[in-house]
């Protein structure tokens, strides 16, 4: 197992290098000038002033030189400082990441809390009412987040005045909770239909009526019945989470912007708008690393849950 892990990690290295090169190339292709971006908002910058800054800040280095500088710093564990803010990129990420985790975590909880029971009920027998509900959820999932956000804001905050419209409030802790509801709901809308449909199929194939009847016949009931099918049923949901999380994260860029949520999505948007190279580079690179780690984790968990996936793994390891 440890040899397998080491090999997987080694194989990931070229991928990582590729991600870093791609991220850097994409940013270099954007037509812009970092010095220009400091003189934001059409504040006149004279020719003399631009020239003076350019010389002072060596911004005329070639892209290859800058890439090499960045890669070497990365190897030393130095992610650089934001060009606009002056603070280390790691500080900015440390501020934003918890907000994104809270928002997406809440969305996942909301999605599963409604999607799983609905999927279960749908998998048991045909009920036209339930079918209609899941159809409606599927319909809701195609409403673009920006439109859903505006509707939710107008209804719950402006019209009814039940929930805060945006932001996180001034305090921390539980005071943030009411502010979390609308953005999390907005994200969950896009996931419910998908999860309910997926769960119906998954429950049907992992726990067919016949298998449950057979288990009952062997005297299993209640908790022990659930435990009997737990591993079987968990597998598809793990995979589903793998598809859900990236989708949520990309949706949360827009949702964070509309709801003034201070997370990673907004950090990325501000970075791209301001051509904050060190910040955007790090964010793109880290998201690549996160996807890679997710795949690795799934590859390691799958054999742990599914004996069929374990067999070839043992085979290759014994072959060494």
């Amino acid at each position: 197992m440890s040899g397998y892990l080491a090999r997987r990690l080694l194989a990931a290295l070229p991928t990582l290098l590729g991600i870093s090169l791609l991220a850097f190339a994409l940013l270099s292709l954007l037509p812009s000038d970092p010095i220009l971006t400091w003189s934001e908002g059409m504040i006149p910058a004279s020719a003399a002033e631009m020239e003076r800054l350019r010389t002072a800040l060596r911004s005329d280095e070639s892209p290859a030189e800058r890439y090499a500088d960045w890669l070497l710093a990365l190897l030393r564990g130095d992610l650089g400082a934001s060009m606009r803010d002056g603070r280390p990129v790691t500080t900015l990420i440390a501020e934003a990441l918890p907000w994104t985790i809270v928002l997406n975590g809440a969305a996942v909880v909301l999605i599963y809390a409604l999607g799983l029971p609905l999927g279960w009920a749908l998998s048991r027998r045909r009920r036209p009412m339930l079918g209609g509900a899941s159809g409606l959820l599927l319909l809701l999932s195609v409403v673009p987040p920006f439109a859903a956000a505006l509707l939710l804001q107008r209804l719950f905050a402006v019209r009814l005045g039940l929930l805060p419209l945006q932001g996180t409030g001034v305090g921390g802790g539980l005071a943030v909770l009411p502010h979390l509801v609308l953005p999390a709901l907005c994200l969950a809308l896009s996931g419910w239909g998908f999860v309910a449909r997926y769960a119906r199929v998954a429950f049907r194939s992992a726990m067919p009526e016949s298998a449950i009847a057979a288990a009952r016949a062997r005297g299993l009931a209640g908790l022990s019945l659930a435990r009997h099918f737990a591993a079987n049923a968990a597998l598809p949901f793990l995979w589903m989470l793998g598809g859900l999380v990236p989708a949520l994260l990309s949706g949360s860029v827009i949702v964070e912007e509309i709801f003034s949520w201070p997370g990673m999505g907004r950090l990325l948007l501000r970075g791209v708008e301001g051509r904050d190279y060190p910040l955007v580079l790090t964010l793109v690179f880290l998201s690549g690393v996160a996807v890679l780690l997710g795949q690795l984790l799934a590859d390691l968990l799958l054999p742990a849950l599914d004996p069929r996936a374990r067999a070839p793994l043992v085979g290759t390891e014994s072959g060494e």
Binding site: L36, P44, A81, G86, R154, G167, T168, S260, P262
Partner: protein, 488 residues
Amino acid sequence: MTGADLSSVMVERLVADFLVDQGPDLQLVPSLAASWERSADGKVITFHLRPGVRFHDSAPFTSDDVVFTWQKIVDPASRAVGRVDAFLPIASVEAVDPLTVRVTYKEAFAPALRGWQIPILPAHLYRGADFATAAANRAPVGTGPFRFVSWDAGRSIVLEANRDYWGGAPGLAQFVFQIVPAADTAFQALLAGEVDYARLPAARQASLMDDAAFTGRFRVLRSVPLFFYYIAWRGDGSNPFFADPRTRRALAMAIDREGYVASVLRGLGEMTDSPFAPLLPAPRARGPAHDPAAAAALLDEAGWRLDPKSGLRKRAGRTFRFTLLVFTGGEDHVQFSQVVQENLRGLGIEMRIERLDWQTLWTRLKSGDFEAAFSGFVPGPDPDSVYGLLHSSQIAGGQNYAAWRDPAVDAALDTARHTLDDTARMAIYRSIESRVLEAQPYAFLFAPVVLGAVNGRFEGAIPSPAGFLGHRPGAAALRPAVGAPQDR
């Protein structure tokens, strides 16, 4: 000082005082400098600082802080882009005594005082620290009417009243900036009562002004910022169209900006016929009026004749077909460009519209890689600020995107800079203005009216071209409305 977004500029204004400030009508007013005088040859300005002023940490404000602030602004490592220009002609800044600063210019520099509209930094907190990462950047200390309390990254900035303010305690106990990136969200938050001030979305301005329920709840602040839209015609010969002033004049006459402002903006805009529009004494100069027939005649005269087959104008086998660059994020920008497209099609000119994000547009403008571009200009309160748009030295790297070159205008702009007598100086700008209106290197268009709304719980906001916070007294004049409940 490193940030350039709206909120950091506003926070800076509330926490720090400027050495010299501007009133609501943009006239120069004393602030940390209680008075000043200029030597007869105009090269030396002596500032007499206000005595007894203290920073929020109770350190005294002295001439040392002024000298230090100047040093930091001219230091390229500070990246104080957009503020350096007025400081490049300075030879030296000296602290004569704790309350006197003497600034010597290399030569007489007429707009010099405007350059000193800058917040003064506390030297004792920055000296010895790395300027880009100093603690005082995240917890600013100034002499201003509000003191800094907290900054929650990406969420809010909280300020409280400076009860010991030299200009008298402000009317509000607390001032909270909420960071709301989406403009429509900010407006919805105003309606929901979560914020007390927001700009009105451009598309809804006119209808909201007619809405009695809205105007009853909010005080609407109307202002015309120092700003105008223009189309730059790249006239350096890199395309066959815009080097000829007759063609540029014809296009200016073809564009129906009056119609656009009246119908689409429902009158919420002012015509800008000249880049100097509000900066010179009345009366305002007038550019060519909207006249499609005269425009057609002028195009014929310039050799662009209608080709009956294609319906487009041609000259020497070349069809009049060009591309206009437009910022895709601006509703005004895109809508107005479509109006221009329609106007020009009526004259037999095909204009394509290329929509770009701000950074890309800016880069294309700076590199001269375009035929025509729709953009905006923010002049300062002094007519010298139009230098960047018109002087030929500003073609490479500056803002003279039309690449317009007129030696007479270059010389006059330089002379005006060094002319201290105000009447003589304004006369020079008048002569420049008439040459510009004759040559039409840019089509000068209009300035949109900006409407903001303050919750009726507050009063005392003074609208200004600089915004209701961008002047003295600004935020210090805000107070709870008489008889209204107050909790913020």
